[in-house]
């Protein structure tokens, strides 16, 4: 009897122990009292408040002091600080291109192999994240500098579950399904897509996201990388094909709300409203994770709207590519506490604190995080897409030189939807790329 009791007791203990280790537990860092870390980045209200909550758990655990300063001219500021020799310990870069610039100035400290292997192992599509954080240093030697933290997803299609169930449509799992669903919707007399490219002097950018998503679904990531760096010219057959594929939606009057003429003239903020009008102007809208902010007041996630992953072809062996953006941390002045802070950012707790903040929309590809900590099902679903990704690629137009990625690529896509041929537009964009070389 006693023996059995002892056994049960041991078993219970074991379960308890296992359980607690499974929750991973709170972050416990080394004692760093007296150490100070200075971080600068582009986050302003409300993100800076949210980030300070993440910082607080670190300072409580280690006793270090952490100062975060946000600036909307961070991009200029960091270059000036590095050149002047007074950089912060950590810099938060809004895009890899800028981090690469600073690395080339010799302003970044390599994160080392341990960190690199940790990312490879614990981030979904780890290799993509390592590649996005790897740049040549001052001497041209490539090294791992950037650690991604806080990411957004662009490969999303938004829809109204009510409209889908009323018409008997099913969420497509493959690109083939999405194409046939589009055809079916048009045949039923519904308009499949809402596409709006208007965005003031940034008009055209939503179409560049379409192009990038299509490139990732029709070609290997290596081709995408070549396209983004212009190793493969913009007027390559493969790019023109991708543009025509976008055109098969956007230039078909039956497939897009308001007809193809409306595509370039509709503001991207107004475009998704077509999902919620009665009768609906369209059934689907492809846009990044931030778009619910522009949905009409009072619509509820999961009830009035939902999203699915912009699917990949089942016939092409390209896995599940995800297009997105994100911020990365890089060491601009090394110290023991700085290294520890990066370790902390890899720890699930630093992710979960931010995830739990209502409406913060914090997503990360960290496989260790507990998705139940998200403030809503929408974000849980979004994060799931990120975790299912086999390939992650950064928004290509952000990686291209500004004159292209924030210039001729945008205007070219507007010209394309307004009637010019894909060849004409691709030639023009390539010509503008040649002109800045």
């Amino acid at each position: 009897m006693y023996k059995t009791f002892k056994l049960i007791f041991a078993f219970l203990l074991a379960v308890l122990f296992l359980n607690s280790s499974a929750i991973a537990g709170a972050y416990k860092g080394p004692d760093l009292s007296g150490e100070k870390i200075v971080i600068s980045g582009p986050w302003l209200a409300p993100q800076d408040e949210q980030f300070r909550k993440v910082i607080k758990a670190f300072t409580d655990a280690t006793g270090a002091t952490v100062e975060y300063g946000g600036s909307d001219s961070f991009e200029q500021q960091i270059i000036i600080d590095v050149k002047a020799g007074s950089p912060p310990n950590l810099a938060i870069f809004p895009q890899p291109g800028l981090a690469a610039n600073v690395a080339a100035l010799g302003g970044l400290t390599p994160l080392g192999n341990d960190m690199k292997n940790w990312v490879l192992e614990n981030y979904a599509a780890g290799q993509s994240w390592v590649d996005l954080g790897t740049y040549p240093d001052k001497n041209g030697n490539k090294d791992f500098f950037g650690f991604f933290y806080r990411v957004n997803v662009k490969s999303l299609v938004w829809y109204s579950p009510d409209n889908f169930s009323d018409n008997g449509y099913k969420v497509p799992k493959t690109m083939e399904d999405l194409i046939s669903l589009t055809e079916k919707m048009a045949a039923d007399g519904n308009t499949p897509w809402c596409i709006g490219l208007g965005s003031g002097d940034a008009t055209g950018w939503p179409a560049t996201d379409w192009m990038e998503d299509i490139m990732l679904r029709t070609h290997k990531p290596a081709v995408y990388d070549m396209w983004v760096t212009n190793e493969m010219p913009f007027n390559d057959k493969r790019v023109i094909e991708a543009m025509d594929f976008f055109g098969s939606f956007a230039k078909n009057d039956k497939y897009v709300a308001g007809g193809s003429k409306a595509v370039a003239t509709t503001d991207f903020r107004d475009s998704p409203k077509g999902l919620f009008s009665s009768p609906p102007k369209c059934m689907m809208h492809r846009q990044a994770s931030f778009i619910p902010a522009f949905f009409p007041d009072g619509v509820k996630a999961g009830e009035d709207y939902d999203f699915f992953y912009f699917p990949s072809y089942s016939t092409k062996d390209l896995g599940n590519p995800v297009l997105g953006g994100g911020t990365l941390f890089a060491i601009t002045k090394d110290s023991k506490a700085t290294r520890e802070f990066l370790n902390y950012l890899g720890h699930p707790q630093s992710n979960e604190i931010w995830m739990a903040i209502e409406g913060s929309g914090f997503l990360n590809p960290n496989k260790l995080i507990d998705l139940s900590k998200h403030s809503s099902d929408t974000f849980r679903g979004l994060n799931q897409i990120l975790l299912n990704a086999t390939t992650f690629r950064f928004d290509g137009s952000d990686l291209m030189p500004g004159a292209i990625g924030a210039g001729s690529f945008w205007t070219g896509m507007v010209d394309y939807t307004s009637g010019q041929s894909s060849k004409e537009v691709a030639d023009k964009i390539q010509a503008s790329w040649d002109a800045i070389k």
Partner: protein, 327 residues
């Protein structure tokens, strides 16, 4: 900044100006009294000392930027590497740049002409009506709106929604109610330029009208009465007396609006951003200068081109002004 420090700045600013003139004047008098300089030199020097601050400010804020812009237009995009006339060669072959020049010429032809024409006609007709003043104040109102604001208003006029949707655009609402297909006005090349020019005409007509009304008052009543007694028709009076009499005013208005139109930027940026063949020089300059990292070489080149466009009109204007003073 608090109000007190504002007053302090104004006070010290004025005090420094006063001291500069007073002390330099005293120093000059003192020097001539001590015979360090001759009396004749003194009167030659005095005006230079007095205008020196103004000249220095002009050099810093006007001459230096012009020279620097000219210099930058021969340098690469970062402004560090000399590239000779490479930017100019590029511009001469760039289709977008040619398009912008053509469009600017179109703007120069249409906008000043139409604004002056409408302004004159409205000013003339409004004088004859009891509700003319009300009409004039309404027509003058757009002058108070910034160009970007006007762009936003006219966005609603030209807005396009697909056929079958409710048209919130004023123009399309009319077109649809008459039974036609709605049009995406801003995307129809050549016409869209005219639609954009209409905005500028809408704004500038008010200015032309106000100046013309004042000038019309200056026409001697006796002359008009004499013409009427001689049996001249109203149309004849308008074309043979009023227009020749207003010739100078017409030229002034035409130059004001021409210079404004050469610099046209805000309306294009707000409405089309140069898309659909509506590009103009100033918007293209902004694009090259600031978009995506910027290219100070090509941006400066376009600034220079715009300046070259404005200079002849300025010179002509100044010369005419001088002739007026002589006569």
């Amino acid at each position: 900044m608090s109000i007190t420090s504002l007053f302090l700045y104004v006070f010290f600013g004025t005090a420094i100006c006063f001291l500069y003139f007073h002390l330099s004047n005293l120093a000059l008098d003192f020097a001539s009294k001590k015979n360090t300089i001759k009396f004749s030199q003194k009167s030659v020097l005095r005006p230079y000392i007095f205008i020196a601050p103004a000249v220095i400010i002009l050099v810093i804020f006007i001459l230096y930027p012009v020279v620097e812009t000219l210099r930058l237009s021969f340098f690469n995009k970062t402004g560090f590497e000399f590239v000779g006339i490479k930017n100019y060669v590029w511009a001469a072959n760039d289709p977008e740049f040619k398009r912008a020049i053509l469009n600017n010429l179109g703007w120069l032809l249409v906008v000043p002409t139409l604004s002056a024409f409408f302004g004159l006609v409205i000013a003339y007709l409004a004088d004859k009506l009891w509700w003319g003043t009300i009409a004039k104040s309404i027509i003058f109102m757009p002058m108070a709106i910034s160009f970007v604001g006007a762009g936003v208003i006219w966005k609603f006029v030209y807005d396009y929604r697909g056929p079958g949707d409710d048209q919130i655009g004023f123009l399309n609402a009319i077109v649809v109610s008459l039974g036609f297909e709605p049009q995406a006005w801003m995307t129809i090349p050549v016409w869209n330029n005219l639609f954009l020019m209409a905005i500028m005409v809408w704004i500038q007509t008010g200015l032309a009208m106000v100046i013309f009304s004042a000038a019309l008052r200056g026409i001697p009543k006796e002359m008009l009465e004499a013409a009427r007694i001689d049996g001249a028709s109203e149309f004849k009076i308008f074309t043979k007396i009023i227009i020749p009499y207003l010739e100078k005013t017409i030229l002034v208005i035409w130059t004001i609006i021409t210079i404004l139109v050469l610099k046209i930027f805000d309306i294009i940026l707000a409405m089309t951003n140069g898309q659909w063949n509506t590009e103009v020089l100033a918007n293209l300059m902004y694009d090259w200068m600031f978009r995506g990292g910027g290219d100070s070489g090509r941006g400066s080149l376009m600034a220079i081109v715009i300046m070259i466009g404005v200079i002849p009109i300025m010179i002509w204007n100044i010369r005419r002004h001088k002739e007026d003073e002589k006569s």
